[in-house]
Amino acid sequence: MTAETPRLHLGLWLLTSGHHIASWRHPATRPERLLGLDHYAEAARIAERGRLDMVFFEDTLAARERNGGVFGETSINSLEPAVQVAALAGATEAIGLAASYSTTYHSPEVLAAKFATADALSGGRAGWNMVTSGAAAGRNFGAGEHPERAERYAAAHKVISEVRALWARVPPSPQGRPVLIQAGMSPWGLDFAASHGECIFSGFGSLEGGRAFRADLRSRAAAKGRDPDHIKVLPGFMPVIGSTEREAQDKLELYRELIHPRLRLGMLGERFNIDFTGRVMDEPFPVEEILATLEDRPNIGGERARFLADVREGETIGDYCERMVRKPSGHLTCVGGPETIADFMQGWHGGGGCDGFILQALQIPVELELFVEEVVPILQQRGLFRRDYEGSTLRSHLGLPVQA
């Protein structure tokens, strides 16, 4: 660490055609490329040009379908991420490569071997996002009942111990051991993060919330005997970049329009306990039908009230969708010119809200490239971000100590 302004960290959440749910319909997207290596290699190289710390792959162990859901109407985001990370090792030189992998549905032996091998093959650039998997995964692993969250995390602590013991029998890579990443926000997830997580992907709407979360996590880690500076908190961040504010707003509107009616119905199906497939936008929005399903849920008080607060008298499904698409997406976002985006990031970072960001580019590669070419240089000029990689490992990019 130098005596100058502390720098922020940037990762790219490399999600098929981009983070926007309808990015595959963008004119610049070529869907047939989304299953080949070139698309991901190109994205990783753009990120590397921008000197980002890492690219990151999420994962699930079940097809994304709930009440019809968005299964057919959005791009597939499920090429196995450890295969992708390994393939990208030879297509990149310095950028970190991180993959989500389940502690519940892989043995410690497989987990240890996979990430140690990726780390060795990449010259010390591997990271592992330790996930415990959602309920849908259980049905694909004959597990009987998918374990409840508390049980999953208890098991995960044991898995990490076993993985570490196995890693002790493997020669260290240039970074020692793979970086451990964590993203779950439940109380058990937070405890797990404070125990093992070196890089935390969080999600928070307000700076105050982000600051409180980061402070809480740092003090929990300290209570466990860890140096709080060795945990980096990166909230997801979805910038909407235009040359002007007006242009950025127009871009946001364009992406909203990319959400096809079929997809809007699918998103409703995902959100509520009703399959909306085949319904029509002109139909009345089925308030009573949805309320009836909320009756069965244990914590109905808050849910019913929140739902009813969202609903307007006599509106159609189309009206409801139109309004929902305009609501804040739950992502941390900023809409404006490059300077505005940089100001926002600087405010969060300087205000103690985070150690950096995990970029959720609307579309890949176009919006990613725009960020690298327009926003990163401003951050660099302000001394907030590196101009060049100083080391060659993910740990060195993240400012984490070499781990034995």
Binding site: W24, L61, G72, L79, A116, T117
Partner: protein, 289 residues
């Protein structure tokens, strides 16, 4: 004649096993020699490098050669095997092979595991990917099915959350003494009295000289010509040096004798003269949506 390279790297070079760095060099040499495929991993055990990760890492270093990875049914859940192999096939452009072994499993469990993996590949029809921007349809959900497998050892709902691999299934390679069910290629140990004629015989070798290379080429041609095997799985004694000698001195002799031909593609199955498997659901088998 089919030629494969056995690649069994260790963390550091030891007991004749190449290091991971050497593994990349060997892959390049193997492609230079126009070998058909690389088979990563051997059923040895211990905390060795993960074969699937090694095979995947070889994708950008190669463009034609097949890439196969060992998995064991005792060590990997079938859903994870299917996803990893699907990604290996997609990202390599149709070059994936699956070296399927039982590990510690009895034959029955191994056979069921293999079956589940194939069912998962077939949970997506080839035509499921539509990419229709105007209609807003990326995947035709009517062409994706749950498999609802409920067997003695595995209960798997499906569908897989990856599309059907470009080859249909990766090329399935098994060890001859443990083979069950579907197999495209078998691997028999060297010195086996008479391996199945459909097998590739493992061939440990060392090449101290050009003359030795000539002798090896002759022996390989003779074995192939008398129908003893379909080809060989090469195990060079000195991983890089002997493989280099093979590429420079043996492979051209075999090609000259008409036993080997340059790669034509487009994928590994075509190269090996193997049929693309039809989707078993398309063959009238019931699935449930």
């Amino acid at each position: 004649m089919i030629l494969a390279l056995a690649l069994d790297p260790a963390w550091t070079p030891e007991g004749g096993r190449p290091s991971l760095v050497q593994a990349v060099a060997m892959a390049r040499l193997a492609e230079q020699a126009d070998l058909d495929l690389i088979l990563v991993g051997s059923p040895g055990g211990g905390v060795g490098p993960d074969p699937m990760t090694v095979a995947s890492a070889l994708i950008p270093h190669t463009s034609r050669i097949g890439l196969g990875a060992l998995t064991t049914s005792s060590g990997w859940a079938p859903f994870n095997v299917a996803r990893a192999l699907s990604a290996l096939d997609w990202l390599s452009g149709g070059r994936a092979a699956w070296l399927a072994a039982p590990g510690a499993d009895p034959p029955g469990r191994f056979a069921e595991h293999l079956e589940v993996v194939l069912e998962l590949f077939d949970s997506w029809e080839d035509e499921a990917l539509v990419f229709d921007k105007a209609a807003g349809v990326f995947t035709d959900r009517d062409r994706v099915r749950r498999i609802v497998h409920a067997g003695p050892s595995f209960t798997v709902d499906g569908p897989l959350n990856s599309p059907r691999p470009p080859q249909g299934w990766p090329v399935i390679v098994q060890f001859a003494d443990a083979a069950v069910g579907d197999a495209d290629l078998l691997v028999a140990p060297s010195g086996a009295a008479a391996g199945p004629a459909s097998a590739l015989t493992e061939l440990p070798f060392a090449l101290a000289s050009v003359a030795a290379a000539g002798v090896l080429a002759g022996e390989m041609a003779a074995a192939f010509d008398r129908g003893a095997c379909q080809g060989f799985v090469l195990r060079p004694d000195r991983p890089v040096a002997d493989l280099q000698m093979f590429a420079e001195e043996v492979a051209p002799r075999l090609e000259h004798q008409g036993l080997r031909a340059p790669w034509t593609g487009p994928d590994l199955r075509t190269r090996l003269g193997l049929e693309r498997p039809a989707n078993r659901y398309a063959r009238g088998r019931e699935g449930t949506r």
